[in-house]
């Protein structure tokens, strides 16, 4: 087995090592991809949250973000395309003591899995969704998706996307999410704080993280490196807590409104007093 990280006595142990499957590194993500940054922030949030790691389960769908589950040293599931939220719904309702985190991409969550996303929000299932939005289908080679801005080029919209994209915070809020935030990978500390809050929130919490895909989206839309995309985020992101989610749509250029948009209370499933479902012991 190809072990990259080592823990010999001369080396200090990395604080996140217990939560990563180090024997699976290096990861498959491209240079300049934001997923490593987001994974690091999530693991630090997990530590910060104080949740018992053995009771936290990460569920991914398919795609570049879908591979996150495989690198996390928790009970983790890499499921079918779009079904991560439905799988997580079953897991959480069957075993309410778990903290269930769905870590997946915009295509997985909003296109093929859109129905499960909105219904889990409507039911206010007690789970956290980390939606990594890179504005295209990266794993299959850069096709446009449900979040691709109008006029953006992709391998299936070479003349520019003609479709109207989903504004993910508005979709989550309209579905019934009790916590909705958005950050870019250039705002690591804010992102980490939001993920911690989401993990500790009871009910359906949703954090969108806008993330570079220099290999496809960036390269085809005049931001050819991860650094170019990060510079764009840094110069164009504004923080507006409490902004109306309907007014935070992202275009191919211009401002990216970030912040915590929604933080409310609503009855959630499974409610207090849910039975143990006769778990097999």
């Amino acid at each position: 087995m190809n072990v990259i990280a080592t823990t010999d006595e001369t080396q200090e142990k990395h604080p996140l090592e217990d939560y990563l499957r180090v024997d699976r590194l290096p990861h498959i993500w491209c240079p300049g991809c934001g997923l490593g940054t987001i994974l690091g922030a999530f693991l630090r949030s997990l530590l910060e949250s104080g949740l018992p790691p053995d009771k936290v389960s990460v569920i991914s769908g398919i795609g570049c973000t879908g591979r996150v589950a495989g690198y996390i040293n928790l009970d983790s599931f890499h499921t079918t395309h779009g079904r991560a939220v439905a799988f997580a719904t079953g897991l959480k309702l069957a075993n309410p003591e778990l903290k269930v985190v769905v870590f997946s991409g915009d295509g997985d969550l909003a296109a093929i899995g859109g129905n499960h996303l909105i219904h889990a929000g409507r039911r206010n299932i007690d789970m956290t969704i980390l939606c990594v939005n890179n504005f295209n289908y990266g794993m299959t080679g850069g096709q446009f998706g449900p979040t691709t801005p109008e006029t953006a080029r992709s391998t299936t919209s070479r003349a520019g996307n003609i479709e109207n994209p989903f504004n993910m915070p508005a979709l989550a809020a309209a579905s019934g999410a009790v916590y909705v935030a958005r950050w870019t990978t250039a705002q690591v500390h804010q992102m980490q704080r939001s993920i911690t809050e989401a993990l500790l929130k009871k009910g359906f919490s949703f954090v969108e993280i806008i993330s570079p895909c220099p290999t496809y989206y960036g390269r085809m839309n005049r931001q050819p490196t991860g650094l170019d995309q990060m510079r764009y985020y840094r110069s164009n992101s504004i923080v507006r807590h409490g902004a109306n989610p309907n007014e935070v749509g992202v275009g191919i250029s211009g401002q990216i409104v970030t912040g915590k948009f929604i933080d409310v209370e609503r009855p959630y499933m499974p409610g207090p007093g849910n039975g143990d479902n006769g778990r097999q012991t």
Binding site: F77, A86, L93, N95, N277, R279, Q280
Partner: protein, 383 residues
């Protein structure tokens, strides 16, 4: 498990209700489904009964989500099921495949109605028998059973849960609209008399646990989520540790095991019912509601002096090919009535391998066969 909520005694109930009661008796405590005729009564009864036994009923947004939730619930350590009919069964194929790949015990009930597409929603067919075997993509083995009465729906639903835990895979109960909506006497024994197969638990400490390291019988012990084993499970081709491995060698190792863990134990799994096969010149081979219709034809043929046997398939998959191959050495032909245009008849023909003929008696669905058509085929067989 306590007897609380267990409906011991004699009841007059439908096949669909018997299915729900079989699930409750088997320890099923999670149901995810989507309303669909003629399976809806199973969901309705589960929504009443599960809260009485501290279980969970969730009505999902579609059958894609229902099946995904069932696989998720079972990974959480709970016996889980769903019930549907043809259109929903098609949607469930995706995550039945996930259940096969993650080796997740669960039960899927298909109360078959006539298709294709929306077809005849309230009326009987047996058109999904090959879909049950091959409907999800890729190569795998599956277990499917087919009951012919509400009592047998009860019994086989329990058996399905036991097989699911024993072999770690989704088990299919292939019933139909006629059996599902038929009311008959159902005897529910005391819970203490029902044999239940528990989940095969890891016998090593968490740090040594590999989720797909099989026992000698090719079935790996199963840790539940949240117990500290910190396992990874993926629908990608994976090694014994559960890690993705994108090689032909890993694919060969995994898929062979997924197939052989079932095929090697065919004799343990397969159940058939035989009537007067010894000395017969023709055997009617069928399953589900069609077996009951065929018995009328078999009895009339016997009155005509024809030596006719009956082979009722209770297990459909894995297919009882060895027994059919044996019988083929002594009979002229098999008569195979089924409510489709020839599915299980193809398997009978394959198993008979030319040693005996196979006469399909197709029926497109909407109602059951006229026994006269089956009788005519029996007469043809002995000519």
């Amino acid at each position: 498990m306590s007897d609380r909520g267990h409906l011991e005694g004699e009841h007059f109930m439908s096949g669909d209700d018997a299915c729900a009661e079989g699930a409750i008796s088997a320890g099923c405590r999670f149901f995810a489904g989507y309303p669909i005729t003629p399976a809806t009564e199973i969901a309705e009864r589960m929504s009443d009964r599960l809260p009485e036994v501290d279980g969970t009923y969730i009505q999902m947004e579609d059958e894609l989500g229902s099946m995904a939730a069932v696989v998720g619930a079972s990974c959480g350590g709970v016996k889980a099921m769903t019930a549907t009919s043809g259109p929903g069964f098609s949607l469930m194929m995706e995550n039945i495949g996930l259940g096969i790949m993650l080796e997740t015990p669960c039960v899927v009930v298909n109360v078959q109605r006539a298709g294709p597409s929306t077809g005849l929603p309230t009326m009987v067919a047996q058109g999904d028998m090959m879909q049950a075997r091959w409907g999800s993509h890729g190569c795998y083995s599956i277990i499917a059973v087919s009951p012919d009465s509400p009592q047998e729906v009860y019994d086989l639903t329990i058996k399905a849960f036991n097989l699911a835990e024993r072999f770690r895979l989704p088990v299919l109960v292939m019933t139909d609209a006629a059996v599902g909506h038929m009311y008959e006497k159902v005897v529910i024994p005391p819970l203490s008399e029902i044999e239940l197969v528990p989940r095969r638990r890891p016998n090593v400490p968490p740090e040594e646990y590999w989720p797909y390291m099989p026992d000698d019988d090719l079935v790996p012990p199963m840790a539940n989520t949240g117990e500290g084993y910190r396992f990874h499970a993926t629908g990608l081709t994976h090694d014994e540790q559960g890690y993705p491995e994108m090689t032909a060698e890993a694919q060969d190792r995994l898929v062979r095991r997924l197939v052989e863990k079932v095929e090697r134990y065919r004799d343990e799994i397969i159940e058939v019912e035989e009537d007067s096969i010894e000395g017969s010149e023709v055997v009617v081979c069928t399953y589900g509601i069609t077996a009951r219709v065929a018995m009328i034809a078999v009895e009339r043929a016997r009155q005509e002096g024809i030596r006719v046997g009956m082979l009722r398939l209770i297990t459909i998959w894995p297919f009882p090919q060895d027994r059919i191959s044996e019988i083929a050495r002594q009979v002229k032909a098999f008569v195979v009535p089924e409510i489709n245009y020839g599915q299980i008849s193809l398997e009978v023909e394959r198993s008979a391998a030319g040693r005996a003929g196979t006469i399909l008696v197709p029926h497109m669905g909407g109602d059951v066969h006229n026994p006269e058509t089956i009788l005519e085929a029996i007469r043809q067989a002995v000519k």
